[in-house]
Amino acid sequence: MSKIRRKFVVPGDLIVRGDYKPVANVYREGNSIYSLKVGLSEIEGRRVRVIPLSGRYAPRVNDVVVGIITDINPYAWTVDINSFFSAFLPATDVFGKRFSPERDDLTSRLKLKDVILAQIISFDRSKDPMLSAQGPRLGPIRGGHLVKISPVKVPRLIGRKGSMTRMIEEATGTRIIIGQNGYVVINGPPEKIPLAIKSIEMVEAEAHLAGLTENIQNFLSKSLGRKIESEKFDGE
């Protein structure tokens, strides 16, 4: 595994010259790659990307998000997904093809302010993101504690192959549902939830710092008074 090179950049900053592949939040001009956002640039092998320090959620097809119902009309729910667009969940997705606005009452399935786990099934510049709540794990979330973090910090909360989430879950005995949009739902015994929230807030606050995993590991070990193991990967 090649070493990751990181550097703080602002929009327009030259990140690297040569044969590199732009991945996210960067653009190429000739054979130079520049940043589009304020954040940390990462060069991993030939792949170049910038992890922004802040920002709202930019919807991407196939992302699984946690949403809050903000409005209901006879044909669809409007869902807050912490983005610059509000998403919509068509009634046919929940009721099936035989949905009829005269017969079926949308509030019988999802009420205002309810929380759902859904997948973005279509989105482009001309229309708002469309959601689907059909699929494994998807659907209404009936319990738990909703925490809102910055969507750009979500990859850090997940960690490599889900290691960070797993560490927090195992240490605190909770189940954590992460939406790519930065809405996180924690389930578990009420007395365990505050520690999980604290850990997640810590990940958010220190996401841009080196040694995040160790910091969280130490924090959890200290809070619980027992050693918490983190998963080790080659090259770390």
Partner: protein
């Protein structure tokens, strides 16, 4: 209020459920008991140029009240009584959900509930505010400015208005021939009783006192009751889409009476200290 307008934080159903779960264990989000008020801080005489003023902090809610006494013409139906007017304004910087512009329904309701508490408790002896019955009376303006919104504006504003009135001093008017002129002698507001407003919120099947911002956002109904110094009920206002059963209301009255006494002593103490200095 139109449906599209949001006056409160949009609170998801999970949060509401947690709050209700907490309440059934007797715990609130900020650690208070169900009938506890937040810390009440009163700064009396906050506005130097006003006849009377008070700034009240109730937790994170901050309100400022100024009283101005002018000369005016009485209303035809009450020729031998002074004039009392309450105006409220919630500044756009006070809350992310507040917009600039003329006062909305909620702000008007706030002014009217505070007005009702003062008026119906007969806090001020209005007949003593008449100078020349039918011609000249004192007119009392109570101007309310809400600086920071974190729930329970009714009570915070009411306490500030009452404290400001209790410390109001204004120039005594004298009749000279046909004219009424202001003399250099100062007089105090003729205060007869100290009304105290107590607000109850209902969330699920639980009732709590002094709802904060998030509790107001998830509450089903609220009931504001005002008691005079003899602890007689003199004004009520119910809000929200939910309801109270008669038993709930009677139970709340008993709780509120006890609470009103406590808060009246805080106001009295603050006024006493302000008058000393």
């Amino acid at each position: 209020m139109s449906a599209a307008e949001r006056k409160h934080e949009f609170v998801d159903s999970l949060r509401r459920r947690q709050i209700i779960d907490g309440l059934s264990l007797g715990k609130r989000t900020d650690g208070r008991g169900l009938t506890d008020y937040r810390e009440l801080k009163m700064e009396i005489g906050a506005i130097v140029k006003a006849n009377g003023s008070a700034m009240v902090h109730l937790g994170n809610t901050i309100v400022l009240v100024g009283v101005k006494v002018n000369l005016g013409t009485p209303f035809p139906d009450t020729p031998d009584e002074g004039i009392l007017t309450v105006n409220a304004d919630v500044l756009p910087i006070a809350s992310p959900y507040e917009e600039p512009g003329p006062p909305d329904e909620d702000t008007i309701e706030l002014a009217r509930v505070v007005d009702r508490g003062i008026r119906e408790s007969h806090m001020i002896d209005m007949s003593k505010l008449a100078i020349q019955p039918g011609k000249k009376v004192y007119s009392v303006f109570i101007d309310v400015t809400v600086l920071d919104v974190d729930g329970n504006l009714f009570d915070a504003v009411s306490y500030a208005a009452v404290a400001a009135l209790m410390t109001t001093r204004f120039k005594k008017a004298v009749v000279k021939g046909d004219e009424v002129i202001q003399s250099d002698k100062m007089m105090e507001m003729p205060v007869k009783t100290i009304p105290v407003s107590i607000t109850t919120a209902k969330i699920g099947s639980h009732t709590i006192l002094d709802p904060d911002g998030i509790e107001e956002a998830v509450m089903d109904a609220r009931l504001t009751t005002t008691f005079d110094s003899a602890n007689r009920l003199c004004a009520t206002q119910k809000g929200g889409e939910g309801w109270f059963t008669p038993e709930e209301i009677l139970r709340q009255m008993d709780i509120a009476r006890v609470k009103a006494k406590e808060i009246r002593s805080v106001i009295k103490e603050a006024v006493k200290n302000a008058k000393k200095s």
